[in-house]
Amino acid sequence: MTFKDDRSQPRRKPYTLVRPYVPLAVLLALLSSVGAIQHTFVSPYNLSVLADESSVILLLATAQTVVILLGGIDLSMAALTALASVLIALTLPSMKVGSVISVLALTTLLGAFQGYIHARAQLPSVVVTLAGLGIWSSLALTIAHTTIPVSAGFSAIGWLKGSSFGVPHSFAFAAAALAVLAGSLRWLPLGRYVYAIGLNPRAALLSGIRVGRVKTLAFALTGLFSGLAGMAMVARTGSGNPTIADSLLLPSIAAVLIGGTKMSGGVGGLGCTVIGALSITILRVGIAATGLDPAYEPIAYGVLIVTAALATDRSWDPLQK
């Protein structure tokens, strides 16, 4: 059964035109509705605060997007972030900048390791990263039973704290990282391989793409970005903690999906992930700002996810059923 007739139904046409802008619309709607209740919420200061808040989720979501584009998923990022935060906090005093670099290198390796297992042993990424989730988090817990304040050498990451021209550095940093990645997705062969694999891994394989290598690389990326997120965390809280990021896993994935990237891989991109991350952040902070009963936050959260999916994820795609 070919899908030609299905996809070329004319009534779909206009919708597919507006589809790309839906995430943005959702974001604005969210912002304005909170702003309506709490006027100062849309003040420049607060917006910069929001941007600052979103930075960590943004970092996580960015790398997650690549993996999801490949058709996989990485559940271990948050745990790896926590591990990184602990290690950085521990080693900063002695190694200064060196600690950051070496920790980033380590997390990248760990990520790559997961990717390698996933590709080499042909285990689904859910399983591998689920295991990773457990391993990294208890590793962090074993290394540091509790919060590790950064006693010295904070300057090595302190620059992430400030803000210039009202733009918080952490956000600028995250955005820059995302931009670089988006660029390479667009301009490097690697990027095209990612989409090809996500859409049709078998054809990609038979076109001579080294699928295993690409996957390993993608997970190395999630590792690296987990490390960066950990760094941002330490910069924000001035300490590392083994459970610092547990609660960021689902929000970061949700950010990717709200951004309009499809779970099934190959469709979507980094552009909207920014928007997704911001929407999530507004939700986390906004409800509180409006002074509503906190119980309404998860409700709104759920509604947003569903509506966003409703808006973005109905695009038709020949290889998905």
Partner: protein, 327 residues
């Protein structure tokens, strides 16, 4: 060569059928050798008791997963049903004392949420992952509203007694779980619901082509999963004696893990309730065994991770092939 419908998000060919069983046996023997008391009758009961609620959840989840979907909302459902039951039977907050009816109503709350899942997925065409993620969140928010900072204590003694009691030295919850498992088995192998779920998982559009009422059975699966989730919530609160929004804390990950470890493919169309049951017991044995051999709390998650990983490796290593597609 693999047929095309093997592809798609999270799809991968099914585990070696005996892998999980072997893994389970190996684990039991291992723990048994390390700590003889592990093999004691009492501990077997504990394991049965421990795996009861996860098993109930896993059976529900299995049908959703067989269809190639996933239900992340079970924690939310458990929270809602837990509070509903606690507020409907004799309790510390509301004057109500509906007894069994209260329990039934609580279980129905799960059906309702499952219905929402199903409708959002089928009518609105939202992918299950996101639909249920959203419903999960919304449901737990609703539960928070119900709880309102005053967790209702359950004073209904029959319910408490049932939750904690044993019949013929078998924990009641374990008995319930067995019944649910049996029900699940019959549903899967001897009814349209089960067989069509298989078909839908095998290739949804093909199933549609053949004129199967796919949507109806999808909704049904979510409803069933919701039903069992709320049952789990009710039993859980009957056990700890209050309505608590955290009654299902961590159950979602655990259940999915159990289903995967058992060898039901997240891609749908392969596996079944029995496999999921094995997976659940594996996890229960791990959790219980680790306390037995005294692995320090910090490392337990790590050990769990390693075991999941090696179990899957062990199960699928032989199926590797250059053209095998894994998501």
């Amino acid at each position: 060569m693999e047929p095309q419908h093997e592809q798609g998000v999270l799809k991968f060919s099914s585990f070696h059928p005996w892998g999980p069983c072997v893994a389970l046996i190996v684990l039991c023997v291992g723990f048994g050798l390390a700590e003889p008391r592990f093999a004691s009758m009492e501990n077997l009961r504990v394991i049965a008791d421990r795996s009861a609620i996860p098993l109930i959840l896993a059976v529900g989840m299995t049908f959703v997963v067989l269809q190639g979907a996933i239900d992340l909302s079970i924690e939310g459902v458990m929270a809602v049903s837990s509070l509903t039951v606690a507020m409907l039977v004799l309790n510390s907050r509301t004057g109500l004392d509906l007894g069994l009816i209260g329990v039934l109503l609580a279980v129905l709350s799960g059906v309702g949420i499952g219905l929402v899942n199903g409708i959002v997925v089928t009518r609105l065409g939202v992918p299950p992952f996101m639909a249920t993620l959203g419903v999960w969140s919304a449901a737990s928010g609703f539960a928070m509203l119900l709880s309102g900072g005053q967790p209702p204590l359950i004073h209904d003694q029959t319910l408490r007694a049932f939750g904690l009691g044993r019949t013929f030295t078998v924990p009641n919850l374990a008995i319930v779980a067995i019944l649910v498992l049996a029900l699940g088995y019959v549903l899967q192998h001897y009814t349209r619901f089960g067989r069509y779920s298989m078909a839908i998982g095998g290739g949804e559009h093909l199933a549609r082509l053949t004129g199967l009422p796919v949507d109806r059975y999808k909704v049904l699966a979510f409803v069933f999963s919701g039903l069992l989730a709320s049952l789990g919530g009710v039993l859980g609160s009957a056990r700890i004696g209050l309505g608590h929004i955290d009654v299902g804390l961590g159950q979602m990950f655990a259940t999915v893990t159990a289903v995967v470890v058992g060898g039901t493919s997240l891609g749908g169309g392969r596996g079944g309730v029995i496999q999921s049951a094995v997976g659940t017991v594996i996890l229960a044995v791990i959790a219980d065994g680790m306390i037995f051999v005294g692995i320090t709390p910090d490392l337990q998650k790590a050990v769990q991770g390693v075991i999941i990983l090696s179990a899957s490796l062990f199960a699928t290593w032989r199926q590797r092939g250059r053209l095998r597609i894994i998501r």
